[in-house]
């Protein structure tokens, strides 16, 4: 019964406006890149089926609006997340500096049971821009930050070229899974009900 129910992994993508959250998600789910994404308002989301260790999972990826004030609006869906993806643009220092804020914001709003070990994954996006010449955040710096926050896995990606996106999301799925070993099996209700029904029925028969 439990195995039949497909398991849902909830992933939230956070990061400053315009770092490429929507593009990353679309690249991963649809393997497509477009120059013409609309600005995301509120939250958007896509799902993808993934196979991991012979089990089928549904990856539910929430794409969020980057502008700061939207945080006050739609954070209810942070709750129940299994993994949080922090995205920054390697060509914009501010977006990297804000990672800390995003992380803390997430921990406050989502209130995970074990905030110290909650799985994050950091993605440095847009490494293709100007073939890396306009880059301002070095890989070393990013990795140092990740290390300081409890060895967060770090990936450098290009949603445009599709570089490293698959690998990054593999890692995301893996970590999400680690975080949520078997939360989705909820049967006590059913059993209860059945027990009651049986009692009732036996009573009737007497």
């Amino acid at each position: 019964m439990a195995s039949r129910r497909r398991m849902l992994l909830k992933v939230i993508i956070l990061g400053d406006s315009g770092v490429g959250k929507t593009s990353l998600m679309n690249q991963y789910v649809n393997r497509k890149f477009s120059n013409q994404y609309k600005a995301t308002i509120g939250a958007d989301f896509l799902t993808k089926e993934v196979q991991f260790e012979d089990r089928q999972f549904t990856l539910q990826i929430w794409d969020t609006a980057g502008q700061e004030r939207f945080q006050s609006l739609g954070v209810a869906f942070y709750r129940g997340a299994d993994c949080c993806v922090l995205v920054y643009d390697v060509n914009v220092m501010k977006s990297f500096d804000n990672l800390n804020n995003w992380r803390e914001e997430f921990l406050i709003q989502a209130s995970p049971s074990d905030p110290e070990n909650f799985p994050f994954v950091v993605l440095g996006n847009k490494i293709d821009v100007d073939s890396g010449n306009s880059r301002v955040v070095s890989e070393k710096k990013a990795k140092a930050w990740c290390a300081s926050k409890g060895n967060i896995p770090y990936f450098e990606t290009s949603a445009k070229e599709g570089f490293n996106v698959e690998a990054a999301f593999q890692c995301i799925a893996k970590n999400a899974l680690k975080n949520e070993p078997e939360e989705d099996i909820y049967l006590p209700d059913t059993i209860d009900v059945v027990g009651r029904q049986q009692q009732r029925s036996s009573g009737c028969e007497c």
């Binding site: 600005a39 308002i41 939250a43 609006a65 004030r69 006050s72 209810a76």
Partner: protein
């Protein structure tokens, strides 16, 4: 110019709809199917509106703005000169450096500017006149704006220090203007002083009592039916009351300041548009209706100017994502400055508080919307609840972008069948995807929300507002807690499931001393009130320095929050109960699984049977094969036998032939025998004759021959005698004595010859 290209291009591109928005490929087919219907409907709509407007134009002739319009056209020529002067002066103003020495003069100028507003239409391309026949609507709407206008004016004077000249001239000048003008537009009447503007308002009231109320119903009806595309921009402007709102040169000044800001950036960081908004606007401009033909470089520049101007106009909002879509749509429908004023009207009046930093109003509205949904479409909401989807997740973006981006067109009975949260949201979002045929939705919405009046909305809003405020406050507090002390924050987590201790935690941060506070309070009573009292006392102890009042307010809020929470908890409990009941109802899951098992068993059996059958089949096949082989063998045998038979038949045939030949030869031989016999008889007769006449003379001479003949005869007779007993065996003897025969005939022939000679 750019503005011209905006005005409703009727693209022939089949992949775009009438507004130039790209159709998603999966909907193109459908759109093509529906295109004709849309066109018809559009035609109907425009006919209706046309008729309506014509009627309005006639009835309004004596008192409304058509006349005014004509007048201003006449005035145009005379005022032209003044205006050019004005413009030069105003451009000075716009550099923001002109000192206003003479207020009254300024006021006069202002008035004249106002007066000559209509004439500008023909010169400034960023400003276009709405057609006069719509003015009736405008008048109706401006009576509403009048009140709000005061507010705006105040706001402007407070926030708009950077526009001193116009503001100052405007707000105090309103009354006097009216006295002079007798302007029917009630333009910018800050009519607290109703006496001064009395005449005007009276006029307006007269107008409204005369034809606005029947008009209102009709307009409502028409709007629900849809505004035809070509009219839409103007109708919107009329509704917002753009003309009433418009302050001459205001927009240009905003832009000019922007430009001057750009020149010396560091200079005016405080008053200019903050950098973050600018950055955000820059990011969002290419992400507004990407690929739309009207948003080329010119279009984008317009959009940028518009958004920057608004950010400057209303710094409490600045720029919020989603405004870009709305502004973009306005730009598609009307010239730039009209779009600006429409945007101002819509955001300031209709969506006040929506786009501010906290976005409080939009959250309130989400709650309101949810409650209304619960009321009107309980099944849908229950389903969404069951799936763990909050209505706001879906409707939030719709509201924020004012349904620009998100007009759903397929209605969703399919929704109720979805299985999990993911599917539901995706479906709802996909519903929201394409931009045509919203009329059905509007209809559904109208039917569904028919009883929802403005008053009710307000009531609900006020009902939900405190909750949101509290949440926001809590949020900011939590954030502060987090930022202030990480240690505390982490403690916060461990207490988060225990609301009481959470409150304590918060209180402690307020007080500044965490541990002592916490201990005390945890020792204290359990009820909320006790806690609060305790908190109060503790706070007052510890917090003797700052404002007690604030504390009290905070505590009140806290109490409010707690009560709210309690209510929410009760509600939640009820909800859970109903959910449980529902689940009980819905939980024939067990039955289903039993059935599934049963079916599976059956399936297994069937599979077994199938396998058996298959085995049998193979066995049968083998048997068949064997049979076939045997058959082939027998066939072979048969063929060979037939061949044998044929050979034998042939042999028989050959033998027959031979036999016939032999028979023929026997027959011949028999004939010969008969001849020979007859000859022999003849000879015998003759011989007997001879022996009788032995005495005759001739007998001596003939003596030699008989001797020779007897020898010959004796041989023949002997043979004859020997065979006399079995004459049928002639053939055999014939065969066996073929050699004799060969001799015989010759001899007998000789004999006959001899006999013939003798005779």
């Amino acid at each position: 110019m750019a503005e011209l290209s905006f005005n409703l291009l009727h693209t022939l591109d089949p992949r775009r709809d009438a507004y130039g928005f790209a159709l998603r490929p999966q909907h193109t087919q459908r759109y093509k199917e529906y295109a004709k219907i849309y066109k018809e409907e559009e035609g109907e709509r425009s006919d209706k509106w046309k008729e309506f407007l014509e009627r309005l134009a006639i009835s309004d002739q004596p008192c409304s703005s058509d006349e005014e319009y004509k007048e201003t056209l006449q005035v145009e020529a005379t005022e032209c000169k003044v205006e050019t002067v004005l413009e030069s002066e105003e451009s000075d103003e716009s550099s923001g450096r002109k000192s206003i020495s003479d207020g009254s003069k300024e006021r006069d100028l202002e008035k004249e500017v106002h007066h000559s507003k209509e004439t500008k239409t023909h010169e400034v391309q960023t400003w276009a006149q709405i057609r006069p026949s719509l003015s009736a609507i405008e008048i109706m709407m401006s009576s509403q704006i009048r009140t709000s206008k005061d507010m705006i004016d105040e706001q402007k004077t407070i926030s708009g220090d950077h526009l001193p000249s116009i503001e100052e001239a405007k707000s105090p000048g309103g009354a006097s203007e009216e006295e002079f003008d007798g302007d029917i537009y009630v333009n910018a009447t800050s009519d607290d002083n109703a006496n001064a503007a009395g005449t005007v308002t009276a006029e307006v009231d007269k107008v409204s009592s005369k034809n606005l109320f029947p008009l209102k119903e009709e307009v409502e009806f028409l709007v629900r039916g849809g505004v035809p595309k070509d009219l839409r921009g103007e109708v919107w402007q009329a509704f917002v009351g753009v003309k009433t709102r418009r302050v001459e040169r205001y927009y240009q000044n905003l832009l000019a300041q922007e430009a001057s800001d750009g020149e010396h950036k560091e200079h005016e960081d405080s008053s200019g548009v903050p950098k973050k908004w600018k950055r955000q606007i820059e990011k969002d401009i290419p992400r507004t209706f990407p690929g739309h033909p009207a948003l080329d470089d010119n279009g984008r520049n317009s959009l940028r100017r518009l958004l920057l101007a608004y950010a400057r106009h209303n710094p409490s909002v600045g720029y919020c994502q989603a405004m870009n879509f709305f502004a973009g749509l306005l730009l598609l429908l009307m010239p730039e400055e009209n779009a600006f004023w429409t945007l101002v009207g819509i955001i300031d009046d209709y969506f006040g508080g929506y786009y501010t930093e906290e976005m409080i109003e939009s959250q309130v509205d989400q709650l309101v919307f949810e409650e209304l949904m619960r009321e009107r479409f309980p099944k849908l909401v229950n389903h969404l609840d069951y799936l763990g989807v909050q209505v706001a997740w879906i409707s939030g973006p719709w509201f924020l972008s004012i349904f620009v981006n998100m007009i759903p067109w397929e209605s969703g009975p399919a929704l109720v069948t979805t299985k999990d949260a993911g599917d539901a949201i995706t479906l709802l979002q996909s519903l929201a995807g394409s931009t045509f045929d919203s009329s059905q939705l509007v209809l559904t919405a109208c039917m569904g929300f028919l009883a929802v009046t403005e008053a009710r909305l307000q009531e609900l809003r006020t009902k939900h507002r405190p909750a949101v405020l509290v949440v926001v406050e809590e949020r900011s507090k939590r954030g502060r807690v987090w930022k202030d002390s990480k240690g505390l924050a982490s403690k916060l987590y461990s207490f988060k499931h225990d609301p009481v201790s959470l409150i304590e935690e918060k209180k402690s941060t307020e007080g500044g001393d965490s541990l002592a506070d916490e201990d005390k309070s945890s020792l204290n009573g359990t009820t909320n009130l006790d806690e609060l009292l305790n908190g109060l006392s503790v706070d007052s102890e510890l917090d003797s320095l700052p404002d007690l009042q604030e504390q009290v307010v905070w505590l009140k809020v806290e109490l409010c929050r707690l009560l709210e929470e309690k209510r929410a908890a009760v509600l939640r409990a009820e909800e859970l109960e109903t959910a449980l009941m529902e689940m009980v109802k819905q939980d024939n899951r067990r039955e289903l699984s039993a059935r599934v098992e049963l079916l599976e068993q059956e399936l297994a059996e069937l599979k077994q049977a199938l396998a058996d059958k298959r085995e049998q089949e193979t066995a049968m096949l083998q048997v068949l094969m064997r049979l076939e082989q045997e058959q082939r063998v027998t066939e072979d045998a048969r063929i060979s036998a037939e061949q044998d038979a044929a050979a034998q038949r042939y042999a028989v045939h050959v033998l027959q032939e031979r036999y016939e030949k032999a028979l023929a030869s026997v027959a011949e031989m028999e004939k010969r025998v008969v001849v020979a016999e007859s000859m022999l008889e003849a000879t015998l007769q003759y011989e007997s004759g001879q022996s009788k006449a032995h005495a005759s003379p001739r007998s001596t001479r003939n003596q030699d021959t008989p001797t020779r003949k007897t020898g010959l005869l004796s041989f023949g007779l002997g043979w004859r005698d020997r065979n006399k007993g079995k004459p049928t065996d002639v053939k055999e003897s014939n065969l066996s004595h073929s050699t004799n025969e060969g001799m015989d005939p010759s001899s007998s022939e000789k004999e006959t010859k001899n006999e013939q000679k003798e005779t």
